[in-house]
């Protein structure tokens, strides 16, 4: 496939991500930080995010499993997750984290469980999307094109 087509494909995909609220402008910020001195910045950060988030999700699951749920600890984790998501621009995950935190404050286990489910769902969704996006970017770069700025 030629560069123009690949680029168009990438643009369409990324635009759909933005439109559907998976990503917000923070992701663009990350893109801006990528340049010749830092060519894989976005990939690195995203991978870091994946690691971090999965770890946090595991922790959350573990915490909720316990008899005495430590809401404070959970709140801290969720806060972390929220922080990471906002740093990466994973908007939906971030929003669910906000809801999650409210549940924690209310000490609502049911709510927390539900939120956890939602968070997981959203996270895996955005992970999938991001992986596809990064793959498309890699294809484009391999074909000789340059990654355009998303909006």
């Amino acid at each position: 496939m030629d560069v123009a087509t690949l680029q168009k494909q990438l643009l369409d995909y990324s635009n759909s991500l933005f439109r559907e609220g998976f990503l917000d402008k923070q992701f663009n910020q990350l893109q801006q930080l990528q340049d010749e001195t830092n060519p894989d910045f976005v990939v690195e950060v995203v991978n870091l995010y994946f690691e971090d988030s999965e770890r946090l999700l595991d922790e959350l699951a573990k915490t909720l499993d316990q008899q005495n749920v430590d809401f404070q600890k959970m709140d801290a984790h969720v806060h972390q997750l929220k922080g990471s998501s906002s740093s990466v621009g994973a908007q939906r995950v971030q929003n669910v984290c906000v809801a999650f935190r409210n549940c924690c404050e209310e000490r609502n286990i049911e709510g927390c469980l539900k939120c956890l489910q939602q968070v997981k769902h959203q996270y895996f969704l955005v992970k999938n999307k991001l992986e596809t996006l990064l793959k498309l970017e890699k294809q484009l770069v391999a074909a000789g094109g340059s990654i355009p700025m998303y909006c």
Binding site: L33, T37, N38, Q80, P148, Y150
Partner: protein, 740 residues
């Protein structure tokens, strides 16, 4: 004497008769002798006499005849034989000579007669020559008169004097009784008596121009004899019995400037003639002679020429006066224009300052107001105020810029700047609007586009922003793509930019930017008007579009200042359009390629880097930490990261200028860290600046930060621009309490 047998009786020799005979013979002889003498004498006297030989003969003949008669004298009385012989000899000789003479005369007399005819002939010739000479003399005199007249006529350039002089001189030369000039009226339908010789003030006497006699005169360029009874010649009331003298009329062409061709003499295509009427004195038997008529014709021509000269002079004087007037008027206009320009410049200078001061106040205070606690309605109001005042400020700037651009007083502020960042910034600025309209904006920077360029960053950004902004403004849905690349020479010469002759050189490159949108497009006839000031295309102007129509005009001027070209292509309404501009930018020296050693010069709006600025980032969230690090690295800082407060306190040193810390770190509170830092570094200038990174926007957090002596608070997530301005502010003021 013997007696003879005559009938008559011999009568005795009468003494008387004999005496008479004797005397007669004597006289005859005398006469005969004197005639040749006379002949000789007179012939000798006269120089010209061709027939001397004849004379001799004739002389001899006469002499001999005389001799004979003389000798006869002796024969009256008794004479001797010798006398008889002599007598005989003489008679014989005489006979011979006279016969010879007679014969000779036969030849001579016709000759003599022909001499006579020749003489007659010569006399006639002489008479004829005399006549001719008389004629020539007359002509010469006429010529002299003409010259004199011409001299008189041409010695003045005043029309009236010319005409008056003509009449006077003609009158004098030809001894005229009356001389009159009829000029055509303005309508050209009548001839009006304008000048006369004898009458002082000719009454406004007119005759229609279509009279047959007038047509006759006008149709030939010769002087025409006319009847003294025709209207043009009847200048005086006919009184009594005097016979009016002959009248001659001649046309005087009135030449206009337009009749003069460059190469030809003026063709008598002019229709305007004046009529000159000349009257010989009455009761004289004078007639118009040919030479006089010729004189009149020549004078008429000369008058025509003189009049045209006068007319030309009049025109040129008039033109000169007109020019002088115009000069004065132009001078005045120029001075007024200068005054107006000066007034306008003064006005602009004053307004520049006067308008901007309140604008700044409004904008600044609205921004500050925005930071405070507001109810949603209040916030909306403040935002509207801010947006409107920003728009107004932009408008003021635009107008002021444009007037400075027009003056030519605008100069580009050349500096080295980060080209890529310009595009990203524009993208950032345009994103909010685009996302509201659900437009997809894509930026494509070609790989060979240098990162740094030399030029006027601010104006380039302004241009780009304007162009992209227009694209966004006039696109309801779809996408917008911005492409930037280095223009190669074949793509520089675009058919659509025919006057643009870019000259690539060693230190410069041409940046070509194309902004393509899928919006409403522009019809081809509107394309030229796009760059005109204040001209808004009605079909393009929607309710949403603000702006004064100055944007593209300003862009064009900026682009021109950057030795470039800007144009818009559109395939038609509804087919979107592409705005393309090419500008010339310099290539910065390659000695410092890396960002870190590059020192920026432009403060504020522009790329700023903090090369080598040592900062410390403390955040336990690895993602946030790496993002913040990425931000700061991108800005050129030397970043060290720690993930806990203890590590932070361990690592921090005087070298670190700024510490960014996340205040929600478990373990030691970020606030405590700040306190510790304050304790560690007592002196203000040694202490690194402390900035809190937090996800909390509330007042409490801020107060806490202030309490522990933090220098600033930043809300996560932070954008690149925000970080940059934060660092700028921090380093400038060493304090920052916004950036939320």
């Amino acid at each position: 004497m013997e007696s003879c047998n005559c009938i008559e009786p011999q009568w005795p020799a009468d003494e008387l008769l004999m005496k008479y005979q004797y005397i007669s013979d004597f006289f005859i002889a005398l006469a005969y002798f004197s005639i040749p003498l006379e002949l000789i004498y007179f012939v000798k006297k006269s120089a010209v006499f061709p027939y001397r030989w004849v004379l001799v003969q004739f002389g001899a003949f006469i002499v001999l005849c005389g001799a004979t008669h003389l000798i006869n004298l002796w024969t009256f009385s008794m004479h001797s034989r010798t006398v008889a012989i002599v007598m005989t000899t003489a008679k014989v000789l005489t006979a011979v000579v006279s016969c010879a003479t007679a014969l000779m005369l036969v030849h001579i007399i016709p000759d003599l007669l022909s001499v006579k005819t020749r003489e007659l002939f010569l006399k006639n010739k002489a008479a004829e020559l005399d006549r001719e000479m008389g004629l020539i003399r007359t002509q010469e005199e006429t010529g002299r008169h003409v010259r004199m007249l011409t001299h008189e006529i041409r010695s003045t350039l005043d029309r009236h004097t010319i005409l008056k002089t003509t009449l006077v001189e003609l009158g004098r030369t030809l001894s005229l009784e009356e001389c009159a000039l009829w000029m055509p009226t303005r309508t050209g339908l009548e001839l009006q008596l304008s000048y006369t010789l004898r009458q002082q003030n000719p009454v406004g006497y007119t005759v229609p121009i279509q009279l047959p006699v007038i047509n006759q005169v006008f149709s030939s360029n010769r002087a025409v004899k006319i009847s003294p009874n025709c209207p043009v010649a009847r200048l005086r009331p006919l009184a009594g019995k005097y016979m009016p003298g002959e009248v001659v009329a001649v046309r005087v062409p009135l030449l206009h400037l337009s009749n003069f061709q460059i190469n030809d003499w003026p063709e008598l295509s002019t229709k305007r003639y004046a009529l000159m009427v000349l009257m010989l004195p009455s009761d004289s038997a004078r007639q118009w002679h040919v030479h006089e008529l010729e004189l009149v014709e020549v004078v008429a021509d000369q008058v025509a020429v003189a009049l045209s000269h006068a007319a030309i002079l009049e025109e040129s004087m008039r033109a000169r006066d007109l020019l002088m007037e115009q000069n004065i008027a132009l001078d005045l206009a120029r001075r007024e224009a200068e005054t107006a320009i000066r007034a306008r410049n003064d006005f602009l200078a004053v307004m520049n300052h006067e308008m901007r001061t309140p604008m700044h106040a409004i904008i600044a205070l609205s921004s500050l107001l925005q930071e405070t606690e507001l109810t949603p309605e209040q916030r909306l109001m403040v935002e509207t105020i801010l947006k409107s005042s920003n728009l107004l400020a932009t408008l003021i700037n635009d107008v002021l810029d444009l007037s400075r651009l027009e003056d030519g007083s605008l100069q580009l502020q050349i500096g080295t700047f980060n080209l890529h960042a310009v595009f990203r910034e524009v993208l950032n600025l345009i994103k909010p609007i685009a996302s509201v309209k659900k437009l997809l904006v894509a930026l494509n920077l070609s790989p060979d586009l240098p990162e740094y360029a030399v030029g006027d960053e601010k104006r380039l950004m302004q241009t780009l922003l304007n162009v992209v902004g227009n694209a966004v403004k006039f696109t309801k849905e779809g996408n917008i793509s911005i492409t930037a690349f280095v223009a190669k020479s074949e793509s520089l010469r675009d058919a659509r930019a025919p006057d643009f002759f870019p000259v690539p050189s060693e230190n410069h490159f041409y940046l070509r930017v194309q902004v393509k949108d899928s919006g409403s497009g522009i019809s081809p006839q509107d394309t030229p008007k796009l760059f005109t000031k204040f001209a808004q295309n009605q079909t393009m102007a929607t309710r949403n579009s603000g702006g004064s129509g100055l944007g593209l005009a300003i862009c064009k001027r900026f682009v021109n200042l950057m030795e470039g070209h800007i144009w818009i292509e559109s395939e038609g309404l509804g087919k979107g359009c592409t705005a393309i501009f090419i500008v010339k930018l310099g290539i910065p020296e390659h000695s410092n390629e890396s960002k870190l050693s590059f020192m920026p010069k432009l403060p504020g709006h522009g790329q700023t880097n903090f090369p080598g600025l040592k900062v410390l980032v403390m955040d336990d969230n690895s993602v946030s930490r790496s993002v913040t690090k990425g931000l700061l690295v991108h800005l050129g800082c030397d970043v060290m990261t720690v993930s806990s407060s203890e590590e932070c306190l361990r690592v921090i040193s005087q070298e670190h200028k700024v510490v960014f810390m996340d205040v929600c770190v478990p373990g030691i509170d970020g606030y405590e860290v700040a306190v510790h830092i304050h304790e560690k570094f007592t002196r203000r200038h040694e202490r690194p600046l402390i900035v809190a990174l937090t996800g909390n926007t509330d007042k409490v957090t801020k107060e806490n930060c202030m309490r522990v002596g933090m220098d600033g608070v930043i809300l996560k997530p932070i954008s690149l621009e925000k970080m940059r301005s934060v660092l700028l502010d921090l380093l400038e003021h060493r304090v920052l309490f916004e950036a939320i």
